[in-house]
Structure formats: C-alpha cells, structure tokens
C-alpha cells in the first residue's frame, strides 16, 4: 500500500490529502515521455554534443556555400544596380533653330554620306571568292551576288616534325588574297615535305622526279607563297580539312571559279 501511495498511482491530490500522505515527488512516473525533445537532449550529453557538432558543421557548410554564391553570383548582379547616368533627351526646339546646331547636323550628315560611300566601295561589283576554312565551304560572287557555293578542302592543321628538327604546318592562310596566276593542266612540283611525310629521301631541288602530272586537276589559280586553288583526285575528302595548305575543289567548281575569276580578283579566306 505504502509503495502504491508513494508512487501516487490511482490517487488524485484530494485523495492524497484525505489519506494524509503527501506525495514527496509530484512528477508522475511516465513524465519521461512528457519531457520536451530539447529537455531530453539536454539531459543526454553524448547526444547533445553530437547534435551540436552536426549543427556547427551544417552552419559552416551553409556559410561557405552562401559566401561562394554571394561572391560568384550575387555580387555581379549587384554591380548592375548603380545607374550609370543615362542621357536625358531634351530635343530642345530652341536649339534646333540655332544656326550652330544646323551646321553640326549638316556636317554629321555629310560625314555619314562620305563614310558610307567609302565603305560600300570596298565591296566592288567584280567577282570574288570567299573560302570558309572552318566548314570547308566556298562562295563565289559576281556583281555582289552569290553565283555558286560548294565544298572544298583546306589545310589539315597538322604539324609535320622530323627528328632533325624540321617542321611544317599544313594550314591555309587567312585574310585577303588575290589571284596572281592562272594555269591550265598544272604540274605538281613535290615540295620537301611530300617526301618527308612518306619517309622518302629528299631529291635535289632540280630533280625532274619532283614533277607529277594530273594530280592537281585541270586548272590551278595561284594565291602567292606557293598556295594554290586546284583540283583533286581525292574527291571523297572534299568538305574536310585534309590539305597541306592549298584549297582543293571538285572539277566543276574549279572550272566555274577558273572561268569567273581573273588575275587580280580578290579571294577572302577566313
């Protein structure tokens, strides 16, 4: 009975008073369950320290992440906030009547006309050829209109190196060129790299064995520095970067270009 009373089970405070026994411990046995989550953690030191550590780590990681995003992404956005001082258009009617204003505007209009004439003059009505070395495509123009386009082959961007330290870079030069010569049935004089590339001994410069016929097609147009626009026997490679720097075309395109361009015609390579 005493034990029962001490535990307080089954007795309400009124009954306790009646029985004359005051419970010394008013907390019920099942009070463990009623404790808050935080109270229980506070009592369990091991768990508390573990949770504290997790909290510190999470906060640190979040802080670092915030700082990273702040410096990398937010700051550049914030830099766009300050206003740089936009021009306020006034269009003063009074100003427009002034002789000095009219003079300035007339001068500007004249300058624009002069510059436009000059700029438009760069694109002449003469025929010219444009070669795109990235996509290996050509465009032929006459009277400022494109009259033909098609595939070509340009430099392979290969660098041939020998053990002796000689090297050649096979790339098509870029920029503005002009046709410096036109040849029918051009022979190919094999340069040194053509022998080095195949592991053959290099013959003397005047060796007649250097000349090959029929490999460059029916026509060749010279761009200077040994670079040619010519035909090819490797037609399956057209549209690919495979040459040693020259521009290769198929027979029909080569003939059209040969007949359209004259010596002095511009060739733009990019």
């Amino acid at each position: 009975m005493g034990i029962e009373l001490q535990s307080g089970e089954g007795l309400n405070p009124a009954e306790e008073k009646v029985s004359g026994i005051v419970n010394q411990n008013p907390v019920p046995v099942d009070s463990q369950d009623n404790k808050s989550f935080f109270q229980r953690i506070a009592e369990n030191e091991k768990l508390a320290s573990r949770l504290r550590r997790i909290f510190i780590w999470t906060t640190s990681i979040l802080t670092v992440l915030f700082l990273f995003i702040f410096f990398i992404y937010i700051v550049p956005l914030l830099q766009e906030i300050p206003s740089p001082g936009k021009t306020t258009i006034t269009n003063s009617a009074e100003l427009k009547k002034e002789a000095s204003y009219k003079k300035i505007v007339t001068q500007l209009s004249r300058d624009i006309q002069r510059f436009s004439r000059k700029y438009n003059g760069y694109t002449t009505g003469q025929s010219y050829l444009v070669i795109n070395t990235t996509d290996n495509i050509f465009h032929l123009y006459r009277n400022k209109k494109q009259i033909r386009e098609g595939h070509c082959s340009t430099g392979s961007f290969k660098m041939l190196k020998t053990e002796e330290g000689r090297s050649w870079i096979f790339k098509t030069p870029k920029g503005k060129f002009w046709i410096q010569g036109k040849v029918n049935n051009p022979p190919w004089r094999r340069p040194d790299w053509a022998y080095v590339e195949e592991g053959l001994p290099i013959p003397s410069q005047d060796d007649p064995g250097r000349y090959e016929y029929g490999v460059l097609g029916d026509y060749a147009l010279a761009l200077g520095d040994g670079y040619l626009i010519h035909g090819t026997i490797y037609k399956r490679f057209l549209g690919m970067p495979v040459t040693h720097g020259c521009v290769r075309l198929n027979d029909d395109d080569l003939k059209a270009i040969f007949n359209t361009l004259s010596i002095g015609s511009k060739v733009y390579i990019f």
Partner: protein, 266 residues
Amino acid sequence: METENVNKTNSKQTALIVLGIFMVSFLIYYLVMVFLSPLKKNREYGEMYSYKQDEKNKIDERVFSDSAYLKLYKEKAWLQSRIAMAETDSIYLTVNLPDSVVNLEISGVVVHSSTIKKQNISKIIRKGNDYIITTLFAKPLTIEKNYASIQKVPLMIKMAPKDTSEYKPDIIPDTADFEPVNYIMEVNDGMVIIVYQEERLNPGDGFHLFIFDLKYRLRQALRAMKSIITLKVPEYQPYIKLTLPRTDAKIIFRALPEQGQIAVYR
C-alpha cells in the same frame, strides 16, 4: 573546474561574435566597393570620352541630349569604326546589337553573317551616357586576351616516318566534333565580349557551360578580392554576352586573329 569551463565557453562565444562582426563588416565593405566599381568605370569613360570643349569652336552642350544629333553621331561612329578596321586587311567582327547581327568582314566585305539569338549587355553600355558610349565605340575594340573552350588553332603534331616502312597514309579525319563552343574576349577599355553557343547538343554541354562560366566568375571574384583587400575599388568589366548558333560561334572564333578587332553598334 566548472569556472574554467564557463570561462572557456565565454571566450569561445566572444571569438565567434568577433568573427561574426568581422565577417559582416567585411561583407558590407566588400559590397560598398563593389557598388563603387561600375560608378568608377563610368567616371573613367566620362573622363576619356566626353566632349572636350574647344575654346575657339564651342559647342552648345544641349546637342548631346538631342535625339536627332545622337542618331547621326551613332551612325557616323559605326562607319568610322568599320572603316578603320577595313583598312587593316585583317579579319574583323562587327556586332550590330539593335539588329541582332554579327558579321565577319575582311576589307569591308562581309564574308560571314550570323544572327544573335540572345544578348545580355551591361547596364553601363545599355543605359550609359549616349554620347560617351558612342564615342567609346567610334574606335574598334582590340582583343587583348581570349579564354575559350576550343582551340584557336587546332594543331595536331605528326612525327615524320624514318623510312617508307614506317609510313602510314592518313586516315579520313574525324570531322564529328562535339566540343562545346564558348569563349570570352577581353578587349581594350576594360570591356569583355562573351560568346555562348546556342544549342545544347549533348547532355554534358550544360554542365560544360556551367564550369566555363564558373571559371570566369572565379577569376573575376579573385581579381575583385585582390583589389578590395588592398583597399582599391575593383575594376568593373562592362560586358556584352551574345548567344550564337554553334557553327557560327566556332567560325568567328577560329577566324578572328588573336589580337583581332571588333566594332560594336548599340
């Protein structure tokens, strides 16, 4: 023992509070400096490109806020800049922002044209003083540094065979290239032109772009941090970000010389 523990906790808390205060103060200081940087750039442009009055032929400054004058002035600057480049015989780029067109040109002849699919421009260029920004673009911009996801010159090294027995004919080149094309061109006057490819051809392209962009942002952040730590206002880089079709972006990058020139019309 208990007092010692309490002291330790207190000193830890104090250290944390001091660190927190320091960090917050630094962030505020950083923000102030960062806010000042575009204003500083704007002031620099103003000093360099605003109209300098000539004692003999004074101009009524109201013309700089006249729309008819500014329109003509923009037109003249655009032509002036392109003519300056056309006379160099080199390959150059023209960027027409209102028409969303970029052209590759050689000596005034358009050799390649592309449409800008998306553009994002710095406020300083977009909304800056019309006269000053137009004067800035009246001269071509010169590329000073390139950062790109592709090589400018894709050289492949091939060792020559010692004799005919070692010779192997070239196989058909692999023309299937899937590398993403994104690049940054830092130009003079502290500006930057950034080109992104429009298409996401491969699943990895988005991630690649993220990394490419992140690297650039990190570089910028480090640069800014260096300046701020040394109590200097960081350099603000006004930008023009363009999104182009991949093939066009590649053609432009490969065609432009290392120190190529660019004309901008806004």
